[in-house]
């Protein structure tokens, strides 16, 4: 299992467009990915769930990945949060 903390670097938060990208990215792996904000945990398979967390720019979240391809998934998600998100 991989657990890592991230900061939302997009000024407008994790809004619909990045949320769409993130879900689609998570779906390309077999591992189950979840996102934790405060005491709320959601699976990264639903746009509605992500939106309902109301993640704003600067918020800190924890990502949990578990499964056969968790290393690859972790790398891809790492790239998403560190590099791509701020341009979305």
């Amino acid at each position: 299992m991989i657990t890592k903390e991230y900061t939302i670097t997009a000024a407008d938060g994790l809004h619909a467009r990045p949320a769409t990208k993130l879900i689609r990215l998570a779906k390309t792996f077999k591992s189950v990915t979840s996102l934790k904000k405060g005491d709320k945990v959601i699976k990264l398979n639903s746009m509605l769930n992500i939106l309902s967390l109301g993640l704003k720019g600067g918020d800190t979240i924890t990502i949990n990945i578990e499964g056969d391809d968790e290393l690859d998934a972790g790398e891809a998600i790492n790239k998403f949060f560190d590099k791509e998100l701020k341009h979305l």
Partner: protein, 576 residues
């Protein structure tokens, strides 16, 4: 007894006569049935129905997406729709309701969507409230397929359709086949509403702000739209129909005649050449404007690039947008106005403060100087695109010279960054300002030293000079561009512009209003910016007059002491 209201008055926003059949454009309301499923067979059926509705909805959105390849603004909205339609949480909740609560698919979808919409709304985030509208859209689409409801898009194929609607949102126009639509009548909206802008740019007659009387119209009623007079006539008598058919033909003939003028230069009888430019919002407008005889783009409103989407467009996307327009301009100049949001133009993804007086508040250049990140991204994109055509930059809502200097410093910073990155751009790109705040008009002599050109924005200048909110129904009648005070300000700008030898153009309604053409010519205006469709009329007038005559007219008009007298005088002049 026929109690139908036959004549409905509204605001004419796009001239011309349309005679056709009414099509009501309404969001269909769906209601719960309260049916409880009683057999496993029924449960299975409802699950299948839901599955199919999702499938059809996704296909529909995908098809829409394909039809829009280039238009990335709309595609963002549709991507979100696709994702929400297949959202695992929503799907699981609906299935749950069908299998364990024995609801039918219709009721299950309504309950799940309503609850989710409520959830997002309660987050009290401006941006997420806007997303709840997307979710509602998704729900409506699913319900439409579940109930085989009559689709708006399926009603379309008939020729000569006149759309009757509450209002038409930007996202609605994505799905409309505008080619079959010959007229619009809406309950709400004003001269600057989206319906008005779309109609005007396509040359389709439109009347907006008709109010609730429009509810009396039924599908397939015969409708006459008089876009110049702002009239909607329902089920006309034979006499009225004949009269308007004649009026329509006259109008078409006149338009055709004016279109013939499109290759004629706008030169006065005493040999002064006048520049007529189009106001545009995108590359398609740019192309279309040449058909009306435009000689370039006097005002590219960049707001539409920022509206009707879910986040700020990045530098790359903006660059592509400006580049396409620069290329389509075929060497003619394009004046790009930097972001003019705030006031009546809000963005769903940008939190505007709640303001008592939005028009006097946080808008346009004020936002750009505050949120330099947004401004710099736009400037960088414009600069990068400037190698593909003759782009110029124009700043809106300037009220003092320090704003110009601050903006110039930021522009310099962006130029330095691009130069350091060895990215090509036009280092000498011209910079101009909108003159639309009285203080700017009064201090035109000071501002002239800082910029390459002025563009007088008459709409805001009029509203600020007369202290009249042009969207407020109760004081709208006081909104008078021909008010002697407004005209004196315009005259001052023109005089200072010529004294300091800087180029002065005019955008806003007045520049395309034929009643004002001679007056403005006489004041010294040589560059008129307007909707492309207004160009032929203004041109026809210019080619028939001399500057000497126009000067006499403007000098006399400026001696008159009230708006009514001025308008009356100018209209009389035009008749001669």
């Amino acid at each position: 007894m026929n109690s139908l209201i036959n004549n409905i008055k509204g605001i004419g926003t796009s001239p011309g006569i349309a005679i056709g059949k009414a099509m009501l454009f309404k969001k269909v309301q769906h209601f719960k049935t309260g049916i409880s499923l009683i057999s496993t067979e029924e449960v299975k059926n409802e699950l299948q129905k839901f599955e199919k509705a999702v499938k059809y909805s996704v296909e529909e959105v995908e098809a829409l997406k394909k039809s829009l390849l280039v238009n990335s603004i709309s595609i963002d909205i549709l991507e979100v729709q696709t994702e929400l339609l297949q959202d695992e949480q929503i799907t699981a909740d609906v299935i749950e309701k069908i299998t364990s609560q024995y609801k039918n698919a219709n009721d299950a979808v309504i309950e799940v969507i309503d609850a989710s919409v409520e959830l997002l709304k309660n987050l009290n985030e401006g941006y997420l409230s806007a997303r709840s509208a997307d979710l509602q859209d998704v729900g409506d689409r699913l319900l439409k397929h579940l109930n085989d409801a009559v689709l708006f898009d399926k009603q379309i194929p008939e020729e000569n359709t006149i759309i009757i609607a509450d209002d038409i949102a930007p996202s609605d126009t994505i799905t409309m086949d505008v080619n079959k639509i010959i007229g619009f009548a809406t309950k709400m909206g004003g001269k600057t509403s989206h319906t008005a802008i779309v109609a005007k740019s396509k040359g389709i007659p439109a009347v907006v702000g008709c109010g609730f009387e429009l509810d009396s119209i039924k599908k397939n009623d015969i409708i006459i739209i008089d876009g110049a007079e702002g009239e909607v006539i329902v089920n006309p008598t034979a006499d009225v129909l004949t009269k308007y058919t004649r009026k329509k033909n006259d109008f078409l003939q006149q338009t055709a005649l004016l279109n013939d003028l499109k290759d004629v230069k706008a030169i006065t009888t005493d040999g002064v050449e006048i520049t007529l430019l189009a106001n545009i919002s995108n590359a398609a407008d740019m192309e279309a404007s040449f058909a009306f005889g435009s000689e370039g783009c006097g005002l590219l409103r960049t707001e539409l690039l920022f509206m009707n989407r879910i986040s700020f467009p990045d530098e790359e996307e903006q660059f592509e947008f400006y580049k396409e327009i620069a290329l389509k301009a075929k060497g003619t100049s394009v004046i790009v106005r930097t972001l003019d949001i705030g006031g009546d133009k809000q963005l769903p993804y940008f939190n505007f403060p709640v303001e008592q007086n939005p028009f006097l508040g946080y808008r346009a250049i004020r936002i750009c100087l505050d949120r330099k990140d947004i401004f710099k991204t736009q400037l960088a994109a414009i600069l990068r695109a400037s190698v593909f055509g003759d782009l110029k930059i124009m700043l809106p809502m300037i009220s003092n010279i320090l704003e110009v200097r601050k903006a110039k410093a930021i522009l310099r910073e962006v130029k330095d960054r691009l130069a350091a990155e060895q990215i090509k751009f036009n280092a000498d790109i011209e910079l101009g300002i909108m003159i639309e705040i009285p203080s700017a008009a009064v201090t035109a002599d000071l501002l002239a030293k800082e910029v390459n050109f002025f563009s007088i924005g008459t709409n805001d200048l009029c509203q600020y000079t007369l202290a009249v909110d042009r969207l407020n129904e109760q004081v709208k009648h006081l909104y008078e561009p021909f008010n002697p005070g407004v005209l004196r300000l315009i005259q001052n700008v023109m005089e200072q512009g010529s004294k300091y030898n800087i180029h002065t153009g005019m955008c806003g309604e007045l520049a395309g209003d034929v009643s004002a053409t001679l007056l403005l010519l006489g004041m010294g205006l040589r560059e008129f910016l307007m909707s492309a469709s207004s160009i032929p009329r203004v041109k026809a007038l210019i080619t028939k007059t001399s500057i000497t005559k126009a000067k006499e007219i403007s000098q006399h008009a400026m001696t008159l002491d009230n708006t009514e007298a001025i308008i009356h005088y100018l209209q009389e002049c035009n008749k001669q």
